[in-house]
Amino acid sequence: MDKRQKQLLIVLLSVAMVVSAVLFVFAMTRPSTAYDVSKVKLDVKLITRGEILTAAYKTYGDNSQDMWVAKTIIKNSGSIPVRDFKISYKLGDLTDWNSGETYPEIRPGQTIRDYCWPTIDPAKVATITTKTPVELTVRYEYKDLKEPEQQSEKLFLLGKNDFVFTSLKKEDIVTFADNFDNYRFIAAFITPNEEVTKSFANSVGSGLETRISDEDALTAFERAFDALRAAGVKYIMEPDGFWTGTASQYVQYPKETIERASGTCLDLSICMSALMEAVGVKSYVALIPGHAIPVIELPQSGDLYAIESTFLDQGYAVSKHGDVVSPDVTASECVTLAKDEIDKAQQDGTYLLVNPEYWWKQGVMPSW
């Protein structure tokens, strides 16, 4: 090999060496396909409802309902799959960390929507009497992550007696029913198994075959009316639940109506409905403009009977509506009056019937 050949060989070997070295460095610095937690890239967004209707706390805890309290949108914006993603929630001190959901894999580009249906302690719910702020925290972790990550958002629990009639925006309200868009949650206030209500109802239904006899069911209905009157229950007009910031009302549970011996038309209707359900009579609450009326369905004929429950306050009925009632303001008189009111509302198309048994089955369970 002469000098010239040597020089040529040196040049070729130098080029080959440099290229190999560059490729070596390039290969060494490529990301590994093995799972590497530092390569995980997730976009996590926590969304909460502004306000929670506390009376329906059981519904919010039922994952077959669409009444989530919060939801988390998780997008894998990285280029490797995320393994064993676990997510759980905690609602202030009202719940413990829930068991949460585990997603074995979130693929690159994949989005997951995870919902929070908290199991709220009933004893703690009972203490929430006004709109109360509470922090909802979401905690998530995934394979090889050293410590779970957390995000929090504030939301408000309405008082346990607050009922918001509709969650629709004002500009979206078109029909009469839109004004009562949350009407199904009235079923949560109808509590036939609560102790005070049950005891009161038993005294009303004693000796009657309410589940099989139309006559006995109607008798129980009128007896409940008379029993509440005998207990001194009065009709009151409650101010709107202005603190909720929406069309709402302070609604009493039957126990409260019995113990306080007073209630609004909605309170009295709810109480009557609960008493009837407690003795095995199918009941409803009819909503008409500015008013609520209790209704029962007779077991044999299926006929509906309503009663003007505010007139169990005899003094109120005589003083304010003396032109349409006798001084005795009997229960059967109030049945006739209620029928007229409902017939008129039905003709106007401003009538909504809340069927508690249906909504209980749908997951809007009685609060107590």
Partner: protein, 272 residues
């Protein structure tokens, strides 16, 4: 008697006609007045594009359009309310006057869940009426009372078409979950050849660099062979051919030696 028979026959005929008419009316009451096509196309990571086409009679469409013009968002408020927050993207509503249809389109991220290994698409309560390749078809007739019927009872004939990703396999209807389930190939990383063969390539290129470096050192330190100088011939006059001397002389005694003799004939010394 004859006239009585005739009367009876006429009576029966009228009764039949009334019955048939009533039955016809009853069928007419169940006859769909609205035809809906609800098409969902799902991509590889479970995101869906939804196109919901609701076709009305001309009269009903005019009524819907009128309300929609007065109350913007009336038809779509359930799609855009608090429940739907963060769910839908690129939500659009179109009124198609030519076909008397309302067309709603949107994207829903993460419609298919893969919590159990399989991807699941929930919300299909009845078995599909058709399955071809990765397309499921569901058909249902139901009475609807909602914004889309202006809160009157109307019979909807709904055809739901679900298109799962072409790469999906083992697609089937899960009656228990009321869902369509399918499997997808394992998730691929996007690093390419160098990442997938990182170890092999690193070793190969590292070794190659070392070998080339070694060879370079070897070649660089080896002495090249000395080159033989080659005289450069210069053109010039051709020299005269050498003349062989006729005699040699003895280097010992100087005597003349005959050509072809190897010894001096005078002193006997060797002549060469």
């Amino acid at each position: 008697m004859v006239s009585m028979k005739r009367l009876a026959l006429i009576g029966i005929a009228v009764l039949l006609l009334v019955t048939v008419f009533a039955a016809g009316r009853s069928r007419a009451a169940d006859k769909p007045t609205v035809v809906e096509t609800y098409e969902v196309t799902v991509n590889d990571v479970g995101d869906a594009h939804v196109t919901d086409t609701i076709k009305y009679s001309k009269t009903d469409f005019a009524a819907i359009k009128k309300v929609g013009a007065k109350k913007r968002g009336f038809l779509t408020r359930r799609f855009t309310d608090e429940d739907a927050t963060g769910e839908l993207r690129d939500f659009k509503t179109q009124m198609n006057d030519k076909t008397n249809s309302v067309v709603i389109t949107y994207d829903k991220l993460g419609l298919a869940y893969n919590t159990k290994g399989d991807f699941l698409l929930y919300g299909y309560s009845a078995k599909p009426t058709k399955q071809a390749a990765n397309t499921f078809t569901f058909e249902e007739t139901s009475t609807v009372n909602s914004e889309f019927t202006l809160f009157t009872d109307q019979v909807f004939k709904t055809t739901s078409i679900l298109k799962i990703p072409p790469a999906a396999s083992k697609a089937s209807y899960d009656a228990q979950e009321k869902a369509v389930s399918y499997q997808m190939p394992p998730a691929r990383t996007t690093y390419g050849f160098f990442s997938e063969q990182k170890t092999t390539l690193s070793i190969a290129f590292g070794l190659a660099a070392l070998v080339f470096a070694g060879l370079l050192v070897f070649v660089g330190t080896k002495k090249p062979t000395e080159p033989v100088p080659v005289p450069v011939a210069t053109p010039g006059p051709v020299p005269p051919a050498p003349v062989e001397p006729a005699h040699k002389f003895c280097q010992q005694c100087g005597a003349k030696v005959e050509p072809g003799k190897h010894f001096c004939t005078s002193c006997g010394a060797k002549v060469d």
